[in-house]
């Protein structure tokens, strides 16, 4: 499903921050992406999400070479990927329900067709009582769950999460991890970028470890 071949990445004329990255992930897998701060976790996620082009090498997503795809086809591929940002990126002028429904609205589906799905998902992530609340009044954990709900509402085949537990307490971190595991059981491939070892120790999942620009799978 995901294949990185000899990927290198440099910003401008600087040194390569990622070097000779090779890996292959199969559908339905669950991985942690880890490494020290500045190791390139977010850059790798951005390449997985096609918002950053590698300086060299090939990236294959869902069987397609991403290098020369036109923007419309890249948008179509992105629809098969859900992403959870460290800083949530919820739109402040939309309610929690509207934020979560945003991908389906963007896909051009009618509100009637997804109204119940969004409501059910919000209840499933424990935000049933906060559907009409705006992001500015949500707690960090609630925002994170709303961001996760938005990432999975389109039933993505791949879920990318960048430090999803960075802004929440350990109890909430555990709840979010269980949520990711549950999504993975339902068939979604999951990659969680984190440097929270306590979180990783709670789940027996392979780790993609970035160190000095190189990646190894442990």
């Amino acid at each position: 499903m995901i294949r990185f071949e000899n990927i290198g990445l440099r910003y401008g004329l600087g040194p390569e921050v990622l070097r000779d990255v090779d890996f292959h992930l199969v559908p339905g897998s669950f991985h942690f992406l880890t490494g020290p701060s500045g190791a390139g976790k977010t850059s790798l996620l951005r390449m997985l999400f096609m918002s950053l082009r590698p300086s060299r090498g090939l990236i294959h997503l869902f069987g397609q070479n991403c290098s020369d795809l036109p923007s419309s086809e890249r948008a179509d591929l992105r629809r098969r990927i859900g992403i959870v940002f460290q800083d949530f990126r919820l739109l402040d002028h939309l309610t929690t329900w509207e934020n979560v429904a945003l991908p389906l609205r963007v896909f051009g589906e009618s509100e009637a067709s997804y109204r119940d799905d969004v409501t059910d998902l919000l209840k499933w992530v424990g935000l049933g009582a906060r559907m009409t609340a705006y992001p500015e009044v949500l707690s960090g954990g609630e925002k994170q769950r709303a961001a996760i709900a938005r990432a999975v509402i389109g039933k993505p085949e791949l879920l990318l999460a960048d430090e999803p537990t960075g802004n929440v307490d350990p109890a909430m971190a555990n709840r979010l991890l269980r949520l990711f595991i549950e999504l993975n059981r339902l068939g979604t491939s999951v990659i969680i970028a984190t440097h929270d070892f306590q979180l990783m120790d709670q789940c027996d999942a392979p780790r993609l470890v970035l160190h000095e620009g190189h990646l190894e799978i442990r």
Partner: protein, 335 residues
């Protein structure tokens, strides 16, 4: 109530273009809002940058409408003025005395009235001719002692004007001391003045237009910068570039139309009140009459007001296009 738009009778591609046009989206969006339905718009409807943009657009549209209206009025007044002058010639009877002179004036007038292409012949009396010289010679009795030539104002039919050269020759051969002045030199000078006025107005209009374009493009870019996060989120949830551009086009077209209409309405009020204001300020004297004669009544006719509509359309389109290019520029930085 659900508002639907039917374009079934249009050819396929055209119908698609019309259906996806931001103008249709804005109008149908307004209709939907009146019908009381719809979720929150994806682009934040009211933001500080959006309000600032609204104010800038309203002010610049107001100024652009005022300038275009003023240029239009000056152009119309100059044309009317020119048309008045061009539709009249003057015949001067300069030789003769006493009753013979009066008889000669009458004969010339009768001769002129019979010529084709002449609508009206108005021989000025000795008093009227004297009054024309009063500004230079004063109102004393000296005028009666002078051989003041008599003038005959001749109104010509502009739709089928007479051959003025033939008429001049005919007059000079039939009557001694009679000349025809077709104001050609005066018209040439007048044409230069009116053209200068209109060209000056167009130059001012172009400057205001350039300032309007620069202000609106700059304000729209600022407003777009504040919406960068929305573009980013839409991009990351899989929105196509065209979808994102369309959402922003709708939003900024809406702002452009609303603010533009406010500015155009302000300019309309100014032009509606202008004749009254001019009457109040200029009074009733001779100077006021001359002033009005020079610049006209300052009344804008319906094509003039139509010009305001055109300004609003240009301003709104400018906002829409600037937002579209802004979206594509931001999206390009992600790919």
């Amino acid at each position: 109530m659900k508002v639907t738009w039917k374009f079934d009778n249009l050819p396929g591609r055209l119908a698609e273009r019309v259906r996806t046009s931001p103008w249709v989206a804005v109008v149908s969006g307004l209709a939907r809002r009146q019908a009381g339905s719809g979720t929150a718009p994806i682009v934040q409807p009211a933001s500080v940058a959006g309000r600032a943009l609204t104010v800038v657009i309203a002010i610049m549209t107001f100024l652009a409408c005022l300038t275009s209206g003023a240029v239009y009025v000056v152009n119309q007044s100059a044309n009317d003025w020119f048309a008045d002058i061009a539709s009249e010639v003057t015949v001067q009877v300069s030789e003769g005395q006493g009753s013979e002179f009066e008889k000669k004036v009458t004969l010339v007038s009768l001769f002129l009235a019979k010529q084709p292409g002449i609508l009206r012949v108005n021989p000025l009396s000795a008093e009227e001719s004297g009054k024309l010289l009063e500004p230079w010679l004063g109102g004393s009795d000296v005028l009666s002692a002078l051989p003041v030539p008599r003038l005959i104002a001749v109104e010509i039919d502009r739709s089928s004007p007479p051959d003025l050269n033939a008429l001049r020759e005919s007059l000079e051969s039939n009557f001694k001391g009679v000349t025809l002045d077709d104001h050609r030199r005066w018209q040439a000078e007048l044409r230069t003045v009116t053209r200068s006025l209109v060209l000056g107005g167009i130059a001012v209009l172009m400057l205001v237009g350039a300032a309007t374009v620069a202000s609106i493009v700059s304000a729209t870019k600022s407003a777009m910068a504040s919406n960068r996060e929305i573009i980013e989120v839409l991009h990351f949830v899989g929105a196509r570039e065209r979808f994102i551009a369309h959402e922003f086009e709708k939003h900024f077209l809406n702002i452009g139309i609303r603010a533009g209409l406010v500015g155009a309405f302000g300019a309309t009020v100014v032009f509606l009140l202008l004749p009254l204001t001019m009457r109040l300020l200029s009074g009733r004297g001779l100077a006021a009459a001359e002033f009005r004669q020079f610049i006209g009544s300052a009344v804008l006719d319906w094509p003039g007001y139509l010009l305001f509509g055109f300004v609003v359309v240009v301003v709104a389109t400018l906002c829409m296009l600037t937002s579209r290019f802004g979206v594509y520029r931001i999206l390009k930085s992600y790919d």
